[in-house]
């Protein structure tokens, strides 16, 4: 079965100006060297994962 998307307005799915293809929750404020912003995105994802892990450890900690 073939599905035609020609009736859809795909502009609604395009990233807004400034995101340059990143997820909608992120914005590129400045980019002098192409590709670095994408690298920053993965660094932030890892950083937030570490923060969640640390918060979880603190919640699990039991003090006498």
């Amino acid at each position: 079965m073939r599905i035609s998307l020609s009736h859809l307005d795909l502009r609604a799915f395009a990233p807004p100006d400034g995101t340059r293809g990143l997820a909608p929750a992120e914005r590129v404020l400045f980019e002098r060297k192409p590709g670095v912003a994408a690298h920053l995105r993965s660094a932030m994802a890892e950083h937030r994962q570490q923060m969640r892990a640390s918060a979880s450890l603190v919640r699990q900690a039991r003090f006498p």
């Binding site: 914005r27 404020l29 060297k33 932030m44 918060a55």
Partner: protein
Amino acid sequence: MSLQVTQRMDALWSALAHELPSVEAITYHEPTDDCPPSWAVGFEGGDILLVDALPDPERLVFSMTLGEVPPDQRLLMYETVLRVNAWLTTQDDVVCGIVLSGSQIVLRGQQRVAELDLQALRRTVLDIQGAAHAWWYFLQTRELGVEEVVLDAHFARA
């Protein structure tokens, strides 16, 4: 953090990026249920500075990962971190310390948003980069005698 403060920080970061040629990119990351609003700054040479905006009082917390700690070197790294932190406390202008987060070594500092302007932000960012470079220098020279090692936290501030 209010929308006004976020917009002010966006403007400060953009101004800093145009002032410092070593900045290659800056991104803003919206808050989630469990994470605050954040910025990431990428520098020439691969340094990455991650900045979280935390409340009460409103402040920026700066983090720069310095590397992974191999399991067999943990004790040595703990000792080195203590020595570098002790040294950092003797530096008037440096607003940071080194922490161990999981298997990573992270340089961390903080600054209140209320008193922040472009000059203060520039100074803090360069101080943290300078402290990161001091850490790497410390690792390279830790076998030398104390009198042979000179640390400089003020990296390219001029």
